[in-house]
Symmetry: C2
Subunit: 330 residues, 2 copies
Amino acid sequence: MSASEPQRITLIGLGTIGMSMAALHLARDNTIVDVFDTRPDIQEYLLKTLPNFLHDTSHDSNSTHPQSSAITTLLTTGRLHIHLTLASACASATIIQEQGPENLAFKRSIWAQVESLAPTSAHFWTSTSGIAASAQQEDMLDKTRLLVVHPFNPPHIMPLLEIVPSSTTAPSRVEFAREYFSLPPGESRHRPVVIQKEIPGFVGNRLAFALLREACYLVQEDVVSVKDLDTVLMASLGPRWAGNGVFESYQQGGGEGGIKAFLEKLGGTMQEVWGGLGDVNVLGSERTEWKEKVIRQTDEAYGTLTKEGVWEKEERLKDFIRAQERRYGQ
Amino acid sequence: MSASEPQRITLIGLGTIGMSMAALHLARDNTIVDVFDTRPDIQEYLLKTLPNFLHDTSHDSNSTHPQSSAITTLLTTGRLHIHLTLASACASATIIQEQGPENLAFKRSIWAQVESLAPTSAHFWTSTSGIAASAQQEDMLDKTRLLVVHPFNPPHIMPLLEIVPSSTTAPSRVEFAREYFSLPPGESRHRPVVIQKEIPGFVGNRLAFALLREACYLVQEDVVSVKDLDTVLMASLGPRWAGNGVFESYQQGGGEGGIKAFLEKLGGTMQEVWGGLGDVNVLGSERTEWKEKVIRQTDEAYGTLTKEGVWEKEERLKDFIRAQERRYGQ
């Protein structure tokens, strides 16, 4: 079955990521979405929460906010189903995607159950940010079906999906997931990337955490405040990396000699920086002096984000993604 | 003298950064720019090259390309002067900004000369990316005047300027530079940040190089290709950090509990990633296996950027910066 054919997607776990994923799948015309969550008020919660996510898929900041009636329509037309049992949710799926708690015991157990309940052809995707497919599938009989589809928040807007198979996942399963997220559904264009090896944090969070570690160190050492460090990032690297990758940027930075010339020219400063990067911890009691300072300064700078603040951030994110997709003529 | 009053800025060194800096200063109505460069064809070179930078300050991708006649006008109206000696270039300056070779001996020598030639009130700025003001000023008599103004390429578009004083730089000199770059000249809005301590790579490049080091390690280990890693960055962290700083993002990611809750929730994965970050070098012969692979894959992915390619990148960068400045109403 090609990923461009109609799909019936079961979502297990309807937290924030699950809701956003539901919106992502529902933005495609030829999908049916089945949801299963253990919370007792799931229908009420869905009617109240999902409209906010559906709104965002329109890419149109001027449209009026859709009401829960939009969800009622999805329910009555059969595009969205709420299930009370895992068995019923899985029975007709072509894809089963899980975004439950980040807990290995839970994930091992749920996949063994899902395997016994779902059609043998169904694809199994986990939205985990930290637990490899190889660990999650230990209690499954068939270890060729499961792979990680790690989204970035919020997935109905953010283009990246990291597809991380285990060493036993069938290549055709990887290709199906890559193809599904490569399809253009309306205006929302996603950009799946296949990660070749299981590694903690995959690629996106490893890069983010490498930068964050140095950021925490610089605040600890009073080189810069939390707020000023964020300004540095937003006024330089953020917009640069929204337009160019890091390697592409340095290929350009090296002029005609490319990244090779850049590494030769900046090698001295780079080695000095690499040799002196902050070696701080997040767990334990050693080298964690940064935590109190970072938390205090971050609270002072930003407080708790309001609903309007989150809305504005998402509108801006969509602006950046539209700018990424723009074509220029001279 | 307030930074909002008319300024007369001397630029020493007219390479790519110098040209872009000239465009930045000329975009302000109340400036006179004096340039000095040792290349013998400086006038011809300026007429040919500077129009490309002036074009970009207009923030209007539909405007026709200005010709060298625009430079002739600047020269005849006295807004731009080309000098054949350092003495003549410095004689009437309120600000002297240097972007010469990244070489300590050169910089020590030029600042000692400039000090003897310029008015005693003039501000001294160096655009270095790697040599601290405290090292550059060793041969100066007055060690309160010099500070680093580190731009990100291209400075006439990129908002960030890192202002890095030495421990002896006068606070009023720091404040003057911060104020000057905070002024809104037409449509180009810069965002200066004062860095509190001299440290190799300052803040922006330390953050960039921390991420780059892990990127090189991931390519070395065949976790991901150069091209796919760049896609990961552009499809997630780039647009996120164009809109939110790293601390602000995690404050939001932690929900009501803010960054404290985020650090508790993701602490396990984060510590595992921090503990396993790639420990590679750029200089020397050990742990440099990544270099050949990264250079080859980067060349294959991007080749040499064409003039049109650079133009398109700059137009896109301006789109991101415009999106950063946009205000949203609900």
